[in-house]
């Protein structure tokens, strides 16, 4: 009996077995060849899923790093040659394991070449091939309700074509996981230090600005074209600037009503140090604590969803949470929405490398001249195509989702050469200036002071 026949005979999922018996027509490139150590390795769409030298050791190390004793269920993306499943079974034999594999050809290659009997015989393993449509969506939803540990190998995600419907969704999860993993100890330290300051929480400002308008200033290259407007918008629009744009504003003699910082890293300190900024600083509970300590104005802390310590602290104190979306501008947008503004205008929110530059001149993030051919191309507000990156595209999708679910707020984008954000129409900055002439003046800094003083 061949490996293929033995494997097929053991597959419990009848539908999957039937499909594997018939010719498969999928436009993917699956290659399998022996590794230097012996066991085969697999290449999917030109990307190796496992080491070319020792694929089993590679799989073992990866799975070791993914074990979560608190998880009830594991959901592993990519069946590959079954190595990750085998390892997971060895380490967590008593837990349910759902394996999602979008390509039948991959499973076919594995069943032809590897003895997978222990996987197919194991009662806790379910292998799902993505073409199973609605059933797949239902399964993912069910998994999301449980304490599930999602395992998305980076190599597999890279191999998944951009056109695949799951790609964006999984990239979102992966990026958040990777950034959390990278900065977890720094975030923990910042959280502990920041709590000591006992600052007022941003929730005190929520729903206090109903009917007023705000500008969110980011440091994309288009800010150079629109920054002048802020002198006219001051005291008409609440001006919230991200940390890296503060220097651009200073160079143009503009003082924002508040600055927001979210990044845990030390470079944030430099964004604010020496800028002479003494208005409100809104900071995420895990943001760079030395930047917070160094601030000479009012400080306002924000607790975020998705960071267990912040969630637990906020839960105990009955404080509201903010959505972070992974970047400072996405967090800022959620804060502005929750503060109650009826219109939010985006300045310098290019989400692309407009004019082949990464940031506005004078931005403390530095201006990088971009010439990488591997960048993605997206439609810009002026109808041209503009270069962007995966991470900026992820933030753009976050903006689009947020805007779609926030029907009561009007959003406007002033980045002419920036990426189109669905739901945020482009409006020329001159129009914003003329509209502002009819607005009532408000000293926003004073208003914040009053709100927090009256608590």
């Amino acid at each position: 009996m061949s490996v293929l026949d033995r494997n097929l005979a053991l597959i419990k999922n009848k539908q999957l077995r039937e499909r594997l018996l018939h010719p498969i027509n999928e436009s993917i490139d699956v290659d399998i060849h022996p590794s230097k150590k012996g066991p085969p390795t697999m290449k999917l769409n030109g990307h190796y899923l496992y080491s070319r030298y020792d694929p089993l050791k590679d799989a073992e190390r990866f799975i070791d790093s993914q074990i979560d004793r608190d998880a009830h269920v594991y959901c592993l993306f990519g069946f590959g040659l079954g190595y990750h499943v085998q390892e997971l079974l060895q380490k967590e034999p008593d837990k349910q394991i759902a394996v999602i594999e979008p390509y039948l050809s991959v499973i076919r290659k594995a069943v032809e070449n590897i003895d997978l009997s222990n996987i197919f015989l194991h009662p806790n393993v379910a292998i799902l091939c993505l073409e199973q449509g609605q059933a797949m969506i239902h399964t993912l939803n069910e998994l999301a309700k449980q304490q599930t540990r999602w395992i998305i190998p980076h190599a597999w995600l890279k191999a998944l074509p951009s056109s695949h419907p799951l790609k964006c969704f999984l990239e979102d999860i992966k990026i958040q996981e990777m950034s959390f993993q990278r900065f977890s100890s720094l975030m923990e330290k910042n959280f502990a230090e920041n709590l000591k300051y006992m600052d007022a929480d941003v929730g005190k400002l929520f729903a206090k600005f109903n009917g007023q308008k705000a500008v969110l200033v980011s440091s994309g290259p288009s800010l150079d074209d629109t920054v002048y407007s802020l002198k006219r918008l001051k005291n008409k629009y609440f001006i919230l600037s991200v940390g890296s744009a503060l220097r651009v504003l200073k160079e143009n003699s503009i003082v924002p009503d508040a600055v927001i910082i979210t990044d845990p890293q030390e470079f944030v300190y430099k964004q604010l140090d020496g800028m002479g900024f003494t208005q409100s600083l809104i900071y995420l509970s895990t943001a760079c604590h030395s930047a917070v300590a160094n601030h000479r104005g009012l400080r306002i802390i924000a607790f975020q969803k998705g960071y267990p310590q912040a969630e637990s602290y906020a839960g105990k104190k009955n404080l509201p949470l903010v959505d972070t979306g992974g970047s400072v501008a996405t967090t800022a947008l959620d804060v502005l929405i929750k503060m109650g503004f009826s219109e939010i205008v985006l300045l310098g929110q290019d989400l692309a490398y407009s004019n082949n530059r990464s940031h506005a001149l004078y931005s403390t993030s530095g201006v990088e001249v971009v010439s990488n051919e591997n960048l993605l191309s997206v439609l810009a507000n002026d109808g041209t195509m503009v270069k962007t990156t995966t991470i900026l595209s992820i933030y753009r999708r976050w903006f689009e989702r947020k805007v779609a679910e926030t029907k009561h707020v009007i959003f406007k984008n002033t980045a002419e050469k920036g990426a189109v954000i669905q739901g945020v129409p482009f409006v020329h900055i001159s129009e914003i200036i003329s509209e502002s002439e009819h607005l009532m003046e408000c000293n926003f800094s004073e208003k914040i002071n009053q709100i927090l003083k009256n608590l």
Binding site: R61, F62, S179, Q181
Partner: protein, 120 residues
């Protein structure tokens, strides 16, 4: 001057041993999808090997030779760059663990020796 030469050689030997163990850490981080940590170490690695190459070249000027080929180190850096650009971290981890690490483990056994002056 001689002291400086010997001190530099000592630092070179100490550093090269650390590079060998560091390459395994980079490979491990990459295999765990801990890309951020790996990137930081890769940046330090590139600076470190640039220093090693510089020392090899400077020592040659002072007639000290070591049996390590700087062009091979450069070749590794090019391979790594290529893998990083394609975000193919499996290949990059393989290069660190199975090509660079053995290279530096061998290199750590080498010592500088003084070349004889050319009498002609």
């Amino acid at each position: 001057m001689m002291n400086l030469i010997y001190e530099t050689q000592d630092s070179f030997y100490q550093y090269i041993e650390r590079v060998a163990s560091g390459t395994q850490t980079i490979a491990d981080y990459l295999r765990e999808d801990n890309v951020g940590e790996a990137m930081q170490l890769i940046a330090q690695f590139s600076e470190g090997v640039a220093w090693l190459t510089k020392v090899i070249v400077l020592m040659r000027e002072h007639k000290y030779h070591i049996n390590i080929d700087p062009s091979q180190i450069n070749g590794f850096l090019l391979e790594i760059n290529d893998g990083l650009e394609r975000q193919d971290y499996v290949i990059v981890a393989d290069i660190f663990e199975y090509e660079i690490k053995p290279f530096f483990e061998e290199a750590a056994k080498e010592r500088f020796y003084q070349m004889k002056e050319d009498k002609n």
